[in-house]
């Protein structure tokens, strides 16, 4: 979707175990949910 809109230089960083030890951990593990940083640039 980002590429379709026109973003370039797209990068995805390392996963964070966002829900580890939190109430939502069980559901997060079930669907392998992690938090990620994303970077993209609007073409100049």
């Amino acid at each position: 979707m980002l590429q379709e809109i026109g973003f370039a230089e797209i990068r995805i960083g390392k996963p964070f175990d966002t829900f580890g030890e939190a109430g939502g951990e069980k559901k997060a593990r079930q669907f392998e949910v992690f938090g990620y940083p994303f970077l993209a640039r609007k073409a100049g």
Binding site: G23, K27, F34, Y36, F38, R41
Partner: protein, 201 residues
């Protein structure tokens, strides 16, 4: 609803408001996600910066990853935080861009805006302001921002394409989108995607 918006956007927005109003008014309540300083540490924010902040600036933080980890902001940059919540990422951004930069936080919740404005005042930040608005229709002029950031917000938008198109509008050519969000490695059943109660559970 469409294939890209499996739930009603307005109904989802009300559900999100209800959940995050609770985070704003009762930050130490029981949620399915971490909040505050413990979360900031888990997401590897710069502890020297976070430790210097008052509790009021940190305790309602409810992000999902670290939007500064792939690219720290540069001095003097103009930054929009789409869905700024209680303002935590805006305060980190204000530290990074310095007094010649500008940070504008956008949020739809009056309770979050009140918290973030009070914390900014407490810290004496002159380069941060908060405006009421939606990520799909931000009160920012075309091409104003060097950077648009967001943390844990886009996954709560029913129409993600519209959200990204709006981010595109407020960015200057060559500007950066740096956001943090959740992603699942295993597919979520269609029935769950259409269950609005599960979007914020």
């Amino acid at each position: 609803m469409t294939s890209e918006t499996p739930v009603d956007p307005a109904a989802l927005r009300e559900e999100v408001k209800s959940k995050y109003r609770e985070v704003a008014t009762n930050p130490h309540g029981k949620f399915h996600f971490h909040t505050g300083r413990r979360l900031a540490q888990r997401l590897e924010y710069d502890t020297s910066v976070v430790d210097a902040m008052p509790d009021s600036a940190v305790e309602s933080f409810a992000g999902v990853a670290n939007p500064f980890s792939l690219r720290p902001l540069e001095r003097g940059e103009r930054v929009v935080d789409a869905g700024s919540g209680a303002g935590f990422d805006c305060f980190i951004a204000a530290h990074q861009v310095g007094p010649d930069g500008r940070v504008v936080g956008i949020d739809m919740l009056a309770d979050m805006l009140a918290r973030s404005r009070a914390a900014a005042g407490q810290m004496g930040l002159g380069n941060v302001e908060f405006r009421e608005g939606l990520i799909e229709d931000m009160p920012v002029e075309d091409g104003w921002a060097d950077v648009v950031m967001s943390n844990g917000v886009i996954n709560l938008c029913a129409d993600k394409r519209r959200a990204f198109q709006e981010i595109w509008r407020v960015l200057r050519p060559g500007g950066w989108l740096q956001f943090a969000d959740i992603a699942n490695g295993k597919p979520v059943p269609e029935s769950a995607l259409r269950n609005i109660d599960l979007w914020t559970a």
